[in-house]
Symmetry: D3
Subunit: 244 residues, 6 copies
């Protein structure tokens, strides 16, 4: 199967980091197809950016329709996930969703650990949106600010490790949230008395599982394709998909 | 004060219907500024359309920044609401949010009544997203399909009335959901033993209240303006707003 | 419109403080009619006192029926609110309800900040009663005790400010709860990185909005007027209202 | 022990019915002390009446303080329960609370069955107030109206039986709610494939259990006696109790 | 009545401790029949041990069927409770359930206090299983580890007292959870500004109340006896009970 | 990898049915190792049977430890799942858990459809236990009773199809619950306008995903192996595992 890794951020370095993480759990018979968004933001970190990037995700997927069997929206916060599920008849998941879902079988409570305090409310909202608050222990972040988004995984290693130790008091499973720290879970796993989940890896194995269970994805029920509709002012690919 | 009524649908006839409804409760000292979206869909009726239209709302508001004191996103489902709250330092609300909020003081339980069954799950999600499920009795819709979106309020009057009677068994307050039936609440109020709320009217009075209480809106906390960020491929107005 | 501000506490000084706060957001076309309860307690601070004062509210409103268009029960905890909603066919709200409701459009999570730790469980109950726990971050109060209820806003200014800073870690919006600290929100707003809501001001703008949306209030559904019933041993005004 | 059965309704016939029901489960070493409220309403059936009657309960208990070891507030809806728990250092429970609590050990889900549809929202609120909604299947009532409150148990026997059969589809335990139908649970038990709970009986056994476990009741924590406070215009007994 | 106290732990010393605690609240007309499990673990402290011990409880009760009128499963975590409720037509409760239930009438929020941190998630699950999370403030335990399970109540007295003081900040009622600390609640009650509940005592009074209310227990609804079924490899008593 | 399919029922015909269903989604590099329980019940259909069978699962897995890389507990209701997660350092899931989890990515709401009404409350409890009630639309079953458990999938095909059509009104995803109807989802998929999930298939793909993500399973946090403990009267394999 061909698994599209669509990075809604425009920073190609993030895509590389995500691919490196994904490759650790990629089955031999899965071709990973990484794509970096052509429009949007270097790194999505607010609801406003996610609203816009989510529209871009739909266009990006529409452009490539037919070239992949399942898709991962590779940003925490899953911009455009539920919309994409309506428009494409194949499995689609996102880093937040997949990380939460895999956590459910690895512990009783999961927490998010991320590198910037200001993302906490937005990340908390992912859990409420998914109806999983009963299993959630909160989003934890270091007190410290960070310098550069491109090196945050290295720069913040120690503060994030300390944050993990704190979060491990409240949760069995810690999701290391945010594309810029993809791969960090493996690096610090031995130093934390909790299970660390890398969202990119969770998304790969979950997307493969979904593809095996139901290649056509969420094609019925409330996520079934909406009736065709004309659109004004949209990019061609997404307009065409919506019109049919 | 100048109150922007931003209709994220591209159908100007809907804007007229919304303005007619709003005018019934508009205070004398409020100027209503109606705008119809220039891009998007004649009528938003799916999560995918809301994802795209929500991005358009941000651009539409950015283009007009400085010309209004508060804004209503005039589509049920509130596309772009939380994103807009981050980007603009003035009160912003939406038809769903305002209708739910006003309902809380008019009864113990509220329900949505709408004209198409397929919108029920998406409308239910608005309530879950707002954390108000404990006060919600569900979304009710007629069994019958409808012909034309532009005349649905007239065409479906009887089925909607019957649906209201059914919903009144479960809720004190019924929100007549969906821009195409704006104004219907007033027409059938005498025939239903429950309180009918017109979302457009709820949004007007709530936006005015928010403006009076806090003209600068949600300018602190997790909805405070995110740090400026460069963007690629976005319309000029929204790109400029995000960059600062 | 004439807006009744019914203070269920017997301390006239509290009424003055509430009126001063209300006047900051009062529309020009609204006449505020302040009334101080003639029976009850100087300051309600327990469930038992609220039970009794709530009955007094009903009598107080019944005595004045016909002289106002909407009413605010001006004590946190909203004594008698739901009962009043049954008996009077006009909008009625309370400080807790209105503050919570306005907070919903100003942030994702709200918290209460008050001056006495022992009121925390009772204030928490207001949120559970309203079904809004999913949006609530808790009631925060200083460790310190206070001297006099009449000067608590001044005396506890610094401890309350520190408490706000602590609460701002958990919530976007802080409701400064309790009539004795009405007006404090405006005084300390510049020193707190969160949105401060004054419940009296929230109640004024919300009551005005309700009046504009539905002058007859919650006159249908489960808050509709109960059938007339004879009563024994009640004050004349409320007995007469219940009897019809 | 002396167990006060305080009927907040003024109808003595209801007290007799309640005593008859209570006597079926009364331990030999418990003296039941029935009291009928001197002020209030023949039969409480709205939030407004409960607000007023609840204040009367406090006065009634204060008048008799020292003459009983535990108290049952013998009306569904438990008027004044939480307030009484603050003021008296002995166990207090109510028909709703006790019936819900005993139901928790008799099945997974409980329902209320009552004789009048208009009481459903208010009865539902008891469950939300108690935080027990996860175990609740709703309030069921006959479609039919009833004639006289004094003979409703006899008059509505068949409709109530049919309602029980319907409720038994959704719940393991049915609480026959409302003092006017006290005792009916025993009469129709053989005809319903669910467990029927009589709230008066539940309250007797639960009050006795509380007395044995903790004779001083909820005398600590947030239900501890509030500090003494002067009151204006209250009956002497309750004023005295509040003042100390 | 004969009340079976079935200790699912195999340590007879625990049974003695439980009996001593129970005797403080045992009515004169109740015969307590203590039994120590013959198979299983000295002290159950994990989900795995509870799964196995719960099966042992069913066998133990089946062996003694006919010799008791009600049963208490005397281990926190209530191993086998819901299963036992299906198989025996008499009241059955457990230490966790009864402690939670009695707490509901003694305060607004309850907490668990126990002696070992590793039991916290499992104890938290009891509350979620019971649907009582809205009334729960969490499980509190000392930082310190303990030496011997047989003397933990004495050895950990001071750390547990400190833990109670901490928990009293969050809850009205503290349940001293775990059979090895049965009786401790009485010893330290004077030193804690909250209500302390001993689960064994709560279970005695609640089981007696259930017996008086409904001697046949949960014999209808979803806990009614399942249809008879053959079994392979089970002890004789439980196999016989299941077969009929 | 070797995937243990442990059928906690003693009916070998059920194992065959489960294997047939599993084989439809089994990756080429996974060896399925089916095992039928040697003790217990032909078909588990009550909480009591699940309590006992769950203990048997632990023994069955302990006997085979070292011969498999991941395990599926192949009965709806997941007997022994959380206990097994403590004792074995490899991924373990169950039919209920896996079906719920996969459903989360295929729709907004899922429902259970099963063949016997009496299992509804027990199946509902699985959802509450998992904290997923916000995404659940209930358990649906035909009105009709069935004849033989071994042919229920064929015998009840029409009633189950009608039940699916009814459930599709409330949910996007329908889980066909119960080992005796394994495989039915594929047979009737074309006739139902919702997504049908076969729990056995969901469990296979989810177990494989868990194994790829974390071969050591839930070996940290609250599901980490409990300290070794002596046991009395247990089968040798499980006693040995618990002792170490």
């Amino acid at each position: 199967m061909r698994l599209l890794l669509f990075n809604p951020n425009t920073a190609a370095a993030l895509t590389q980091r995500l691919v490196a993480s994904a490759s650790r759990v990629l089955p031999a018979d899965v071709d990973l197809v990484p794509v970096t968004a052509g429009t949007g933001f270097p790194y999505i970190s607010s609801r406003a950016e996610a609203q816009i990037a989510g529209a871009g995700v739909l266009d990006g997927l529409a452009e490539r329709a037919g070239t992949f069997d399942a898709a991962v929206i590779a940003a925490f916060g899953d911009p455009g996930l539920h919309a994409a599920r309506e428009l494409f008849d194949l499995p689609v998941t996102g880093l937040s969703e997949a990380a939460m879902i895999m956590s459910l079988s690895l512990g009783e409570r999961f927490a998010f650990v991320t590198f910037a305090r200001r993302m906490r409310p937005w990340y908390d909202e992912q859990v409420a949106r998914a109806g999983l608050a009963a299993r959630f222990a909160g989003t934890f972040a270091p007190e410290e600010g960070f310098g550069s988004i491109s090196s945050v995984a290295e720069e913040m290693r120690e503060p994030l490790l300390r944050t993990c130790l704190r979060a491990a008091e409240a949760a069995d499973v810690l999701v290391l949230a945010g594309a810029p720290i993809a791969g960090l879970a493996n690096d610090i796993a031995d130093d934390v008395p909790a299970i660390l989940v890398d969202p990119m890896q969770a998304a790969v194995v979950h997307a493969v599982a979904l593809h095996r269970l139901r290649p056509q994805g969420a094609d019925r029920g409330s996520y079934a394709r909406p009736p065709g509709k004309p659109a004004t002012g949209l990019p061609a690919a997404i307009a065409a998909r919506l019109a049919r």
